[in-house]
Amino acid sequence: MKIKPNLAVNETGFLFNPSTGDSFSLNPTGQEILTLFKQGKSDEEVIEHMTQEYMIDKNTVEKDLYDFKIMLSNYKLGEEQN
């Protein structure tokens, strides 16, 4: 998923969207996935990374990523969104 390049995320998971002034809070896994997306990683790469780093299976990450991406889109944080 392509994420807006100008989003600011600090080390505590605070996210600021300068285009809209909206701010958000991410938990550590949410923050990690967003960072991977910002680095241009694909869904498959993100899933691979998470299963390597965390005690979790591929199916669960895939389901959670599906939901997380819906929320990123809802909050208009994708690059194609205003």
Partner: protein, 453 residues
């Protein structure tokens, strides 16, 4: 290879800079992993999910605290366990071991109390539905009958004649105690003189032994003062009986209705912050009775039928997440393996729910659904919890009152109930229901035995 990290479902939550909630309720992310020394995980592994768990330690602590609160303020106090609140025999017997009599509202409950070994003269028989057969049993057993309405009063007088016995009776009195809504469906009204008329009829009959007065002024009463008003009015009636007829009543029964720590739906503040302590009720009632004008040697016994406040916080419901989903409006929904069929009180409480495993401090709002294929099956309309995943376990608090007695066998069988004893050892006090239990009373006519599809 490096140790893998603990996974938590990714969440993102918008931060709003609106007005703060001045009540600032605490977010429930602190896990509850044990109940009185028994691990939640082990309990679910051994007895299945969902599972009701009762704490014997908490039940005994509650009744001892209540007795202490009243007995340090008033010299003659007797508790009677309200069977309808939770009539699992093991629970009733804990209360009986602590000295409580039995308070029943049907012949079904009456028979349970007898089976449990409660001496019949220590059973208070309440409720509007007592048949002639029921009354006959109670009269022959010398139990105390709390008369609810005029039809019952006349039947008891007739039965007393037929049985050549003098039944011990009290009348139930309803009254204005300054709370809304006023409960006036049980018993005879104080203000309009019905209660006094009933007393006159009892005494004029010469066939009944009027031993007490009873009131049940409401349920989940958030005002202790209302009990002071009720105690004053009952004391006034008792003193009038003494003055007019020279009869000293044995007891005044203030019924039940003390609130538990649950949060009522629509309440801004959490229940634990607003419900009176048992000592608040004790203070109001004792003060009213002591100041009513009884000579010290004639002080009536104070009977109490407290149920909810003594057992609610001793009950827990353990459950497991079935699934998460996202609703069309973006709200998170969590589907649990317990629903309104077994958690009946979720219709009027916002139950406190804790996760049973560690999470970070991040939380999200969610609707909590039960497993029933019914739209009404909503356990919490909105609850803030950590990012639960399928298979995660939760603990629902304050479920000891009215859930086991009111739970419905609907769509699925009911769960087991476990009592954790004083040493932390769990005991099954009701096994999980089976299909055979449910079909026990069913019969299929011969012509419906077979079919072809």
């Amino acid at each position: 290879m490096a140790q893998k990290k603990q996974y938590e479902r990714p969440i993102i939550k918008p931060l709003n800079t609106g007005l703060m909630n001045k009540f600032g309720t605490k977010t429930e992310y602190a896990p509850v992993k044990m109940i009185d020394g028994a691990y939640v995980k082990d309990l679910i592994k051994e007895y299945g999910s969902p599972l009701f768990v009762l704490s014997e330690r908490k039940i005994r602590e509650n009744i001892r605290n209540a007795k202490r609160a009243f007995e340090t303020r008033y010299p003659k106090v007797q508790f009677a366990w309200s069977y309808k609140t939770n009539y699992l025999n093991a629970v009733c017997n804990i209360f009986h071991q602590e000295g409580s009599w039995g308070e029943v509202v049907s012949i079904f409950e009456y028979k349970k109390a007898i089976k449990n070994g409660v001496p019949p003269e220590k059973i208070l028989f309440n409720g509007p539905d007592k048949t002639d057969d029921d009354l006959t049993i109670a009269i022959n057993n010398n139990s105390c009958i709390h008369i609810d309405h005029l039809d019952e009063l006349y039947r008891v007088i007739e039965l007393a004649g037929e049985l050549h016995k003098k039944p011990r009776v009290a009348i139930r009195v309803n009254m204005d105690t300054g709370i809304y809504p006023m409960w006036d469906r049980f018993g005879f009204n104080y203000e309009n003189g019905q209660a006094w008329d009933a007393i006159n009829k009892i005494i004029a009959s010469g066939k009944l032994d009027l031993v007490g007065l009873h009131a049940h002024i409401g349920t989940f009463m958030l005002s202790a003062k209302a009990y002071g008003v009720a105690a004053s009015k009952l004391a006034d009636l008792a003193l009038s009986v003494k003055r007019m007829f020279g009869i000293k009543l044995t007891y005044i029964d203030l019924g039940g209705g003390f609130a538990s720590k649950n949060t009522l739906k629509g309440s801004f503040q959490i229940g634990a912050d607003v419900t009176p302590e048992i000592s608040d009720y004790a203070e109001e009632i004792s003060t009213a009775l002591l100041n009513a004008g009884f000579p010290t040697e004639d002080l009536p016994y104070l009977y109490l039928e407290t149920g909810r406040a003594l057992v609610d916080d001793a009950g827990f419901l353990l459950g497991t997440v079935i699934s998460n989903k996202r609703l069309s409006d973006g709200r998170r929904a969590t589907i649990m393996d317990f629903g309104v069929n077994i958690l009946f009180t979720s219709f009027w409480y916002d139950h406190k729910i804790s996760p049973a495993q560690d999470f970070s401090h991040h939380t999200e709002e969610s609707v909590l659904y039960g497993p029933l294929c019914m739209n009404i099956d909503v356990v919490r309309e909105n609850v803030t919890l950590p990012p639960l995943m399928a298979g995660d376990q939760v603990v629902v608090h304050y479920v000891g009152a009215y859930n086991i007695t009111q739970s419905m066998q609907f769509i699925s069988t009911r769960p087991a109930v476990v009592l954790v004893d004083m040493k932390g050892t769990p005991h099954v006090i009701k096994r999980k229901e089976t299909i055979e239990d449910v079909e026990l009373g069913e019969k299929i006519p011969d012509y419906l035995e077979k079919f072809e599809l």
